[in-house]
Subunit: 571 residues, 2 copies
């Protein structure tokens, strides 16, 4: 491809609307353009990257026995009503009516469609397992779409669904996908980590996220400092090591103390000259069923995902000032578990081992000292409900946990019989007994992977594509478009490289060399070959590796082999 | 792929809902399943065919300098309001609102999106021409979706848009696409014809349709019996050869005659002992502006598309009984042009050469004899407004026209500045003057091409895929699954063929040979290799060509070469 003909509208300025680096660079380098909020056109360079990622995904899905299909994007409401998701999915579901007034939605995911399909077509355990996948546009009407391709309303996703006869079969399918995902992100040239994840609103339990590591990532990952251990978890999910019992202090008498104006842990600790470890932090939540007081040690934070899962509720919100006043008789900051009637008390494991702690007295400007769990209050539930932080021990091996930011690009889930049961999708087992299919679902955000690759691989000049998913491998740049020797040499190099099957562009624009170099760095071609008069005098051209930053002079008769060996070394 | 693992749910019965053969066979052979009216899931075999067609299309678009992109499926209403199509497109446009109440539609076509994109990015004639294309789901909310993939509401289309500086540039782009389309359908192994087409509601003029010939086709194609001439046109568009002047009969005196109960051409001809060539057939139409009387010779039919284009109207409907009565004072069947006031008279060219014709008298049970155009009535417009039929002379060379049924699978259009003008998409020419882009648009129905291939290539046993787009090339069938020699030989053959890069399936199901043969014929694999004990005794297996119906015994050590040569001969 000649740059003069390529639709690659680069921008000098950073677009004001772009907050994150991948959004900025994909706009600036002419990869994408916005069509509406959260809706983008993928221009030729972006589409080449997407197709490369898709092909890697396809090969790895096929290798595990996946069969590619294409389900509809417009889905009839009936199936969503059958599964119960039509009413609970909320405003993120794009809904529409056809000319006859029938309800449809734009698929954010395809559990209903595929479960209904399999329900109609597969009836014997002999036809299992089945791994079916597709790659297509998905839709999610985000309240505030942003970050370019990282959080769009229309995006390309690969979704695979597994159908097995039992839990053991599901384990096999799940492990196949774990392996496939590991291969996919390795083959994309990305630094990533599979992390234990919460299975979230989609339901079921047993899930891993695949996170591309990048400082700008939106999820916090905790991983074991011992590489052999390999433990890694989304912060939401990381388990706290069960606490050891504290010192055997004698239990002192409960007493009320004055703490005027001390509403935060810091203020009380300062006032009473205590460490936060002595405090019982109490936070009030409201669910659709009840009011809940969650307790953690003063130096800890409540993990709302863990609390949500422990309560099994649908909605969980921090209680507002009014609820707090009505429930405790005091303002926020003076809440405590003692004497709190009509409220569900949920204590973190650590709280139960505290001795002579300090807690709010449920009275303005007062706290209670020498609060002892079990003696002074009895929680309705004791669970791991706190956030784990870097530096704490690994729940697997006890070594210290480290922390990294990541961008979730894939997730694998065990759905089990959540959908097959409600949709009545069953097969006959060896004994002729009808059983619901045991399912898994497995997603990769394809356009999101492209954006994550940019978040991880860039410098202040532009994108640095991993060779495996680069839109092209090599750009050939003649320094001067007026020097006939340079132009002809560049043209011949370009032809030779293309003939050798190397994806090459020729910058044949009549621009200054500086402009061409800037664009080449911005677009992020892995390799640049510069044809200049100095090198040509010796029969050489300049090789530049974008990712290594290395430069070498290479003889003209050795170009194709050199590019091949560089590509091999990188890919 | 092993058939035991392939999701290919074949059906023995013809599904009741399927009216046409491609719909029946694609359902029966396990290629597609309905998700909603006009909305289908493409199962693994269908998806393989689609991807092959897409790859052929991609290569031919790229060969002509096309650049592949991906535009959004959900399109903001603003652009459609700007082009004026939001209000006129009607109920075929799927419309929806996002969570903020903003209007969107699901793209049936992308003129607005791409014109707005180019308006923002391209500003110099030096950046032209540009050929941009995509392949994606398109949407059309048909009132009555039917015929399976031939008329769905969700379907896959390739759409390419060309941007040129002038009409000469557009001609070049148009011819490139004409060539590309010819290559695409040839490479798909289809018997097709490019035909001069009406450019329809999309606007602009200058268009060809590419029609796959099939008896079940929905369009009538007229083509020259002289292959070198090559003229072919959609029946809607086929031009009538201008008529030669009739015999120089003397003009007789106009007189009213009684024709009781004669309301059709046949009845009058029988009653008056005349040939229909003597009759002036008059039909009343209503447009949004006026009432129109269209006249053709009694043996001809009005071509409503030609009439519509001649009138330049938006709506054209045949007038109902009441309008006829109000306008003519008579019932339908007694209309005629003489004395018809306040109505626009449009005569076909042939009518003007008629001498002493018969026409309705605008009075029940009466006709006029010796009607002579110009003397007895003066049309407001004289044009070619009639249907051309097989047997008439070719407008290009005069040889007889032949007739065939076809399925439209592609269409190319000259849009010119229709969209660039209304959307204000301009570039600067050599003189720095702003000019609107001169555009073309070019579509291929990808899923429709698959269905058309089936309509053209089938027998009463099932589909007969052209090798080029067959889901797999070869199926290996051991006659008995209990004979170890057969099973092992089939397995080894399968492995060898796959290793040689030949797309092969192995029917490893424990079914009877008859079932396996039936399925193989139904699915339409181009070649079947049967492993049976009789052949094996001589070290041979049976080769069967689905399209040729030929059978040959081939030595085992010669299999891969034989398949390769058969594939080459077919492909």
């Amino acid at each position: 491809m000649r740059v003069s003909q390529l639709l690659m509208p680069t921008l000098r300025e950073v677009p004001a609307e772009a907050e994150v680096i991948s959004h900025q660079l994909l706009l600036r380098a002419g990869f994408i353009r916005k069509a509406a909020a959260g809706v983008y056109t993928l221009l030729p360079l972006a589409w080449r990257v997407v197709r490369k990622i898709e092909q890697i995904v396809r090969e790895e899905m096929d290798r595990q026995g996946g069969q590619e299909i294409m389900m509809p994007i417009i889905q009839p409401a009936e199936l969503w009503q059958e599964s119960g998701r039509w009413d609970v999915y909320g405003p993120e579901l794009f809904r529409l009516k056809d000319r006859h007034g029938r309800d449809f939605c734009l698929g954010p995911t395809h559990e209903e469609i595929i479960t209904a399909l399999i329900r109609g077509e597969i009836n014997s355990y002999k036809q299992l397992p089945l791994l079916l996948y597709q790659m297509q546009n998905k839709y999610r009407d985000e309240r505030r779409p942003r970050f370019g391709l990282l959080r769009g309303r229309e995006f390309i996703m690969k979704d695979l669904y597994s159908f097995d006869r039992d839990e053991a079969g599901l384990d096999v399918s799940y492990n196949k996908m774990y392996e496939a995902y590991t291969n996919v992100f390795n083959r994309c040239g990305l630094n990533f980590r599979p992390v234990v994840a919460d299975s979230g609103a989609i339901g079921g339990s047993g899930s891993h996220e695949f996170a591309v590591l990048a400082d700008s990532g939106e999820v916090n990952i905790l991983y074991c400092s011992d590489e052999e251990c390999g433990y890694a978890a989304n912060e939401e999910r990381a388990e706290a090591v069960p606490p050891a019992a504290g010192e055997k202090e004698p239990l002192l008498e409960l007493k009320k103390i004055q703490t005027p104006g001390c509403r935060t842990i810091e203020e009380i600790c300062l006032y009473l000259k205590l460490t936060p470890q002595k405090m019982i932090k109490t936070i009030l939540y409201q669910t659709e069923k009840e009011t809940v007081a969650a307790m953690v040690r003063g130096d800890r934070e409540v993990n709302e995902i863990k609390l949500y899962n422990a309560l099994g509720c649908v909605r969980l919100e921090m209680a507002d000032e009014k609820i707090v006043r009505d429930a405790t008789g005091a303002q926020t900051g003076y809440m405590g578990p003692v004497g709190l009637n009509g409220i569900k008390l949920v204590a973190d494991n650590e709280v139960m081992l505290m001795v002579n702690g300090i807690a709010g007295a449920n009275e303005d400007d007062h706290h209670l000292a020498n609060v002892n769990p079990d003696r002074d209050f009895k929680p309705h539930m004791v669970k791991d409900i706190r956030l784990v932080k870097a530096g704490e021990p690994c729940p697997n091996c006890g070594e210290a946990l480290l922390e990294a930011r990541g961008i979730e690009v894939g997730q694998i889930f065990k759905l089990r019989d959540k959908y097959s049961k409600v949709l009545g999708a069953t097969f006959l087992d060896e004994n002729g007994k009808a059983k619901p299919f045991v399912m898994g679902c497995y997603g990769i955000g394809v356009t999101r992977t492209m954006a994550a690759a940019v978040e991880q691989n860039h410098d202040d000049k532009g994108i640095i594509w991993p060779v495996q998913i680069a839109p092209y491998h090599v750009i050939v740049v003649p320094i001067s478009n007026k020097d006939q020797e340079q132009v002809q040499t560049a043209e011949k190099l370009y032809q030779d490289l293309v003939a050798a099957g190397i994806e090459t562009v020729l910058d044949d624009r009549p621009d200054r060399a500086g402009v061409k170099f800037k664009d080449a760095d911005l677009v992020g071609y892995p390799f640049r070959i510069t044809v200049g008069s100095k090198g040509l005098a010796e029969g050489k051209v300049e090789f530049y590796s974008r990712c290594k930053g290395e430069v070498a002079m290479v003889p003209l008769n050795n170009i194709v082999e050199t590019v091949r060996s560089w590509l091999q070394a990188e890919g």
